[in-house]
Symmetry: C2
Subunit: 276 residues, 2 copies
């Protein structure tokens, strides 16, 4: 039986592209929120759930981080990286000249700001809940409307691609994670993601904790902070490190830090993604 993979939909988003890349044979289940994707895995409606976690321009997808920190016990089992190519979509037959409004998610509008200002200086930006929803809105609107979305959304909704690769920064990649009940066994080239917090904010406490990795020569691929949601200025720290949680050095470091933090949650260990 094909694996069931829930993903942040609708069809035609970059997350769908990541899910297809992950398993072209899977039964894909589009859901309308990151929380719904996690719930589908929790309730065994799907074996895994694919959600975006980080973009090379915009930074982290905070809904996914907050889900991992606060609201889910699912593990990260895989990571996937895909290049983001924004396209300008219109109704069939529409040309560049008549475009007066441009629909998209605010992030996509922001990522194509210079292109829009240069080509369509007077056009009105219209916010949508996703790039795919923007394409739907555009198809239901007047022929002076355009949308920023994927080439696949053009196929799905019957739109025409007027221009490809319209993002201002060409080095635009998004990292996705597949969430599951269990993380991945060691492969020899792994990453581990975790978060921790402190009950006080003594000077140097973060420094001490990072020292457990530094002294073992464990590379930290990422250090980030998120608000703890209780008071402004208190944070949960997130770390991605090179190595598997079952590696003896990583296990040692985690044991040492556990004594110093008020909360430690390992999201999982998984193979490092190689861009092919």
């Amino acid at each position: 039986m094909a694996k069931r993979i829930a993903y942040l939909g609708p069809a035609g988003t970059f997350t769908e592209a990541a899910a297809i890349l992950y398993d072209p044979e899977a039964d894909l289940i589009p859901l309308s929120s990151i929380a719904a994707v996690a719930a589908a895995v929790d309730f065994d409606k799907a074996e895994e759930g694919v959600v975006p976690i980080e973009n090379s321009i915009e930074g982290s997808v905070t809904d996914t981080l907050d889900l991992l920190i606060h609201d889910s016990t699912l593990a990260i089992r895989r990571e996937l990286v895909i290049p983001i190519e924004h396209c300008l979509l219109v109704k069939p037959g529409v040309t560049m000249d008549g475009i007066e409004s441009i629909h998209s998610h605010t992030q996509a509008l922001g990522q194509c700001r210079h292109y829009i200002e240069g080509r369509f200086p007077g056009a009105q930006a219209v916010a949508a809940l996703s790039t795919a929803a923007a394409v739907e809105d555009m198809m239901a609107g007047p022929s002076s409307a355009a949308a920023i979305g994927t080439a696949r959304a053009a196929e799905i909704y019957g739109a025409e691609v007027l221009a490809r690769g319209i993002q201002d920064n060409q080095a635009n990649f998004t990292r996705f994670v597949a969430l599951a009940h269990r993380d991945h066994p060691p492969t020899g080239s792994d990453k581990t993601s975790l978060c921790f917090s402190f009950s006080d904010d003594r000077a140097g406490i973060l420094y001490n904790v990072l020292g457990h990795f530094a002294t073992r020569n464990i590379n930290l691929a990422k250090v980030e902070s998120r608000p703890n949601k209780e008071s402004l200025g208190r944070y949960v720290f997130l770390v991605d490190l090179d190595g598997h949680r079952e590696d003896p050095l990583v296990r040692d470091a985690l044991a040492c830090m556990e004594a110093e933090v008020s909360m430690l949650k390992v999201f999982g260990s998984y193979p490092k993604y190689r861009v092919s």
Copy 2:
């Protein structure tokens, strides 16, 4: 002459409330983007510019961080913190019963998700470019529409407040900064914000840099990372520390770290905000 303060508008947003709190006598100039606010100060159309930088639930306002890192030489001169109270606004005379769609910025929709799902389970969420634009959209739409916005937006646009404080988490604060050509002289209770990056990602290099603060007992109020926008997995680190950049210990620490980083940019030192 009154000070001219540019801010991220339109009127009726929380940023306007922060600008009024900062200087009730100022001439306020609403602008449509964070970049436009910085440009107004750069070109001396305003002495200072107020923009949001961090919310206690959502985390950092990445447009403001990226402006400070990449696109501006302006300094942070002040910080301001205000509580966020989302209100449900409708056209005058409309009641709870008939509401079928709810307009707002995606962040405000997210912050009131439980309230919306509980009270209006079938309602359609409609994205807008700001909470104030959502109120305008709602006033121009059918009477089955509601918007999430500020009480002041209700006044400005002639809407009615049906419910106050509808955010799911009551501990919801936003921190704003005032940008100017110069930062603030020392007051004895100051913060300093800065960013730095490395040209390689040797294990432990971040640890070494943080050590310059830890060994001097300088508390780091915040450590965060942002993508460097050149490649996925390379970051710029942002730090808020307790103390003024002219304090001898802070000056020392900055001098030591300067030798180890490939880029160091001090955004400024400014008085710590006290919530009154």
